[in-house]
């Protein structure tokens, strides 16, 4: 059996290299933790924006065939034979407020066009307008939850 010198076979990490690597590694890891901490700090934790659940008056106030625009809430209340729907009037292209037109909706910013159900008929919009969940609040008013999206064509029967 050949005798080998175990110490000589160790790969070339001497004490100095090891300690340097350890030190730099420690600095690197702490920098990473600090960076992640700072990013997490900046991540919005509390939503101070406008409330997502809004009340929109009693169902009886809306006549059939009406498109009632709630400008501040950026939503339009639609009532037809099938019931009530709440369609977003925030353009899906770059977030401008769309206006109502004879054919449906039209965006003043870059000319996106939508039909009455919010489907794209022209312009750069990548997807249909959002439909929000409509329900009846305990006090009998229509309640729209803008955080819950429903498939286009989903009407709520009051």
């Amino acid at each position: 059996m050949k005798k080998t010198n175990v110490r000589m076979q160790q790969p070339g990490m001497d004490r100095r290299t090891f300690l340097t690597a350890l030190g730099l590694g420690g600095v690197g890891v702490s920098a990473l933790i600090a960076a992640v901490g700072n990013l997490l700090y900046l991540k919005p934790a509390v939503d101070y924006g406008p409330p997502t659940v809004i009340r929109a008056g009693r169902p009886g106030e809306y006549k059939e065939g009406i498109k009632e625009v709630l400008e501040d809430q950026r939503v339009v209340i639609v009532r037809d034979k099938k019931g009530f729907a709440a369609i977003s009037i925030t353009c899906t292209h770059l977030g401008c407020t769309v206006g109502t037109s004879d054919a449906g909706f039209e965006c003043p910013c870059h000319g996106s066009q939508y039909d009455n159900d919010g489907f794209v008929t022209g312009g750069p919009a990548p997807r249909p307008l959002d439909w929000y969940q409509v329900s009846i609040a305990p006090n009998g008013e229509l309640e729209i939850d803008k955080s819950v999206k429903v498939p286009p064509g989903t009407f709520f029967k009051a």
């Binding site: 991540k43 919005p44 939503d47 924006g49 406008p50 770059l94 977030g95 910013c109």
Partner: protein
């Protein structure tokens, strides 16, 4: 009376003059403008403010048409914008209910407020233009080539910081133009793959342009971006000196007057 007592206790007036002279020499260490080349060199590179400019420059780079002074103009605009910006901060504050009114007050009620605001606004527009022209000049004169590649990269960073300052400042008047421009601008950011949507939320502090967005843009505009810009501006100037001043042909390469090579 004898001379020795006078020397031991100089008259108070002389001591005051000596003290004043001492302070003067502490401030102006080289006296009047030195007349010899060595003295002039020392005076320049021992002064923080003068040493931005090299002691000796190539005759070539003194030609105004070579640089059009665009870098100096951009720097001057940055200083003007810093000064007017700090002054505007005395009246403006980033509140969704107050910001627009404060902007209107600056325009109509505050003495010289309209001057400061307009200088800040037009200076900002001009700075973006001048920085882009400066970059074009550097490109067309080949000044991005070795050994100046590093400074070209610093310059790109400075351009991005300038654009960032321009974008964040645009929201602060809090009028319709500002609101919709930032709505559209941050929506564009949101289209970036993977990082887009979180970046948009980071910028806005929420999902819509509101109070949170105003504060975030304000802090970016008055502290973070100008701070970063100042640091990299210092690096930029330092590199110009270290890379041998403005780009210029080797002196041997300059064709003789009135003839080609």
């Amino acid at each position: 009376m004898n001379d020795s007592t006078q020397n031991a206790r100089p008259a108070p007036r002389n001591r005051l003059a000596e003290f004043g002279n001492h302070i003067y020499r502490s401030l102006f260490r080289y006296g009047r403008v030195p007349q010899d080349a060595e003295g002039q060199s020392y005076a320049v590179f021992n002064s923080l403010f003068l040493h931005i400019h090299p002691v000796k420059v190539s005759r070539h780079s003194l030609r105004f048409g070579y640089t059009l002074g665009l870098g100096v103009i951009a720097t001057a605009l940055f200083l003007v914008l810093t000064f007017t910006g700090i002054w505007l901060m005395f009246y403006y504050f980033p509140s969704a209910s107050e910001a627009y009114n404060r902007m209107l007050d600056l325009r109509s009620a505050v003495d010289f407020g309209f001057v400061l605001r307009n200088v800040h606004k037009w200076g900002a527009e001009l700075m973006v233009l001048v920085v882009i022209l400066h970059m074009a000049r550097v490109f067309f004169t080949g000044a991005y080539k070795p050994p100046r590649e590093f400074n070209w990269l610093v310059g790109i960073l400075l351009l991005l910081l300038t654009l960032g300052l321009s974008f964040t400042g645009y929201l602060l008047p809090w009028d319709q133009l500002a609101f919709w421009a930032i709505t559209v601008g941050t929506s564009i950011a949101g289209y970036a793959p993977v990082l887009g949507p979180p970046l948009r939320r980071f910028l806005l502090g929420g999902d819509v342009v509101g109070q949170e967005a105003l504060v975030r843009f304000y802090v970016l505009h008055v502290v973070i971006l100008p701070g970063l810009l100042s640091i990299f501006l210092a690096v930029h100037f330092w590199r110009i000196r270290k890379d041998g001043g403005l780009s210029h042909p080797d002196d041997n390469d300059i064709p003789p007057k009135g003839g080609g090579r």
